[in-house]
């Protein structure tokens, strides 16, 4: 299986390592020519959403990728990736892919001093390690969005058709279940 990873900025190397450990092939997306390769899914990693959004736009990758996601390309979005997918950002005028019918809040917990670690259930899984680093959370979801995780009363994981998006960073630790779930989506 070939999985594309958006490599414009952020913690993409960690996702790549996770994918390779699970036996997937990685396609790095840094410029629009990279989109000519074939892939079965895409990961939007953590990092700074303002930077990634701008680079995806300036490097002419935003529209073609949006089209692919709309047509059903499986996507796993973590932290900044969730912000890029959201239809609305409550504390920012920008929108990027806008393929996920949710409203997110950027830096919802505050600055780095408020970053935290916890473990929680995510869909069918128990005790998923969750790092929240200047993280967003989901404030509202449309009816057809499945909520996969709730942390302290806030939605931190959702699935909508071919899109899985989370506030936290499953790529940072050693728990592979979330990536396995995503690869399952890519192979079906």
């Amino acid at each position: 299986m070939r999985i594309a990873v958006s490599c414009v900025q952020g913690a993409f190397a960690e996702h790549e390592k996770m994918l390779r450990n699970l036996g997937a092939e990685v396609v790095e997306l840094r410029k629009k020519e990279d989109l000519d390769q074939s892939f079965d899914g895409i990961i939007l990693p953590g990092g700074e959403s303002t930077v990634q959004g701008k680079l995806l736009q300036d490097l002419k990758m935003l529209e073609p990728l949006k089209e692919k996601i709309r047509k059903g390309l499986p996507v796993l979005a973590t932290c900044a990736g969730l912000i890029l997918l959201a239809e609305h950002i409550s504390n920012d005028d920008h929108v990027y892919f806008a393929t996920l019918p949710v409203t997110v809040r950027r830096n919802a917990y505050g600055r780095q001093a408020e970053s935290f670690y916890t473990e929680g259930s995510f869909g069918p899984y128990e005790k998923i390690p969750m790092e929240f680093i200047r993280a967003p959370y989901v404030e509202r979801v449309s009816d057809d969005v499945e909520v996969l995780s709730v942390t302290d009363g806030n939605i931190t994981g959702v699935r909508y058709k071919n899109q899985i998006a989370v506030s936290f960073h499953p790529e940072l630790c050693c728990d592979t279940r979330l990536h396995e779930m995503f690869l399952g989506l890519c192979s079906s």
Partner: protein, 290 residues
């Protein structure tokens, strides 16, 4: 190892592949954010001006830093003097996202660095070689940058520091297990950190390039030498067209191996900052704090 330290290391991981820009006003901070900076470093004077002004250089006015925190949504870093833990306490109190214990400012202590393990806020520190990097990490730094030579627009020292670190990491990685104790002694660092470098063939934290980056080509050079991101201090707002140069450096860091794109990015950037060559400077900031 505390979870807080892990989270602080992980914030640095999120900055990877990005450019951290020095800014002195909220307006500059907004320009930097709009140009694609992954974080800004708030300071009263950029290194080139510190160098020109001379005298003792200290932590910036917290009010000025707060103005920048309010102006942007990306992480805001600020510098304290080497060893000045009271300045660091103040920066932590105003909720700074990363503290740079920096040789750009006048050192407050010529023996001791700050015990960074006593803080919940993350620290980035400069290093010229593996020993310095691991000493700062053992003191609690969760991110490392090359020292380079700030405010010169001359990349030579940053290159020297990055190459030195790479060479020493390769040496440690290639050493036999029983040789690691001696390596720890030579580098004046704890054995456990040497062990980590041996096993993982890298530093235990993210490593950025800093000190002298002035052009997209400089940024690409440092990335190809193994930097995981770039700090640009004086290079942007001391140049003719800060916005355009900033955007070009950001893209150069993403596509650092694509010479065609780098060529296009390097066109028409206007005047680069006026550089100072190594032999022309009287004050070597990189010599501060070892």
């Amino acid at each position: 190892m505390s979870k807080r330290y892990e989270l602080n290391k992980e914030l640095a991981q999120m900055l990877k592949g990005g450019v951290i820009m020095d800014v002195t006003t909220p307006e500059q901070a907004k320009i930097a954010e709009a140009a694609g900076a992954c974080a800004v470093m708030a300071l009263e004077r950029i290194p080139a001006d510190i160098r020109a002004a001379g005298g003792v250089s200290r932590m910036s006015d917290p009010k000025m830093i707060k103005g920048i925190q309010e102006a942007v949504s990306i992480p805001v870093m600020a510098k304290c003097r080497i060893g000045h833990f009271a300045e660091a306490q103040i920066l932590q109190a105003i909720g700074i996202d990363y503290i740079d214990e920096s040789e750009v400012l006048s050192p407050a202590d010529d023996v001791y660095h700050i015990d960074k393990t006593a803080f919940s806020a993350p620290f980035v520190c400069g290093a010229r070689d593996l020993g310095e990097a691991l000493r700062r990490i053992s003191e609690g730094a969760s991110m490392i940058r090359t020292k380079g030579e700030p405010g010169t627009g001359d990349i030579v020292q940053a290159v020297r520091h990055m190459r030195m670190m790479n060479r020493q990491i390769a040496e440690v990685a290639a050493a036999r297990e029983e040789e690691l104790y001696q390596k720890a002694k030579e580098l004046q660092v704890p054995y456990e950190l040497v062990r980590y470098v041996h096993d993982e063939k890298r530093l235990p934290v993210v490593n950025f390039a800093a000190g002298g980056v002035a052009t997209p080509a400089d940024a690409a050079l440092m990335m190809q030498l193994g930097a995981e991101g770039v700090f640009v201090g004086s290079g942007i707002f001391k140049s003719g067209n800060p916005k355009k140069r900033a955007e070009a450096i950001v893209k150069a860091v993403t596509n650092y191996q694509d010479a065609d794109m780098l060529a296009a990015l390097s066109e028409d950037l206007g005047e680069a900052m006026v550089g100072i060559n190594e032999e022309e400077i009287s004050l070597l900031m990189a010599e501060r704090g070892k």
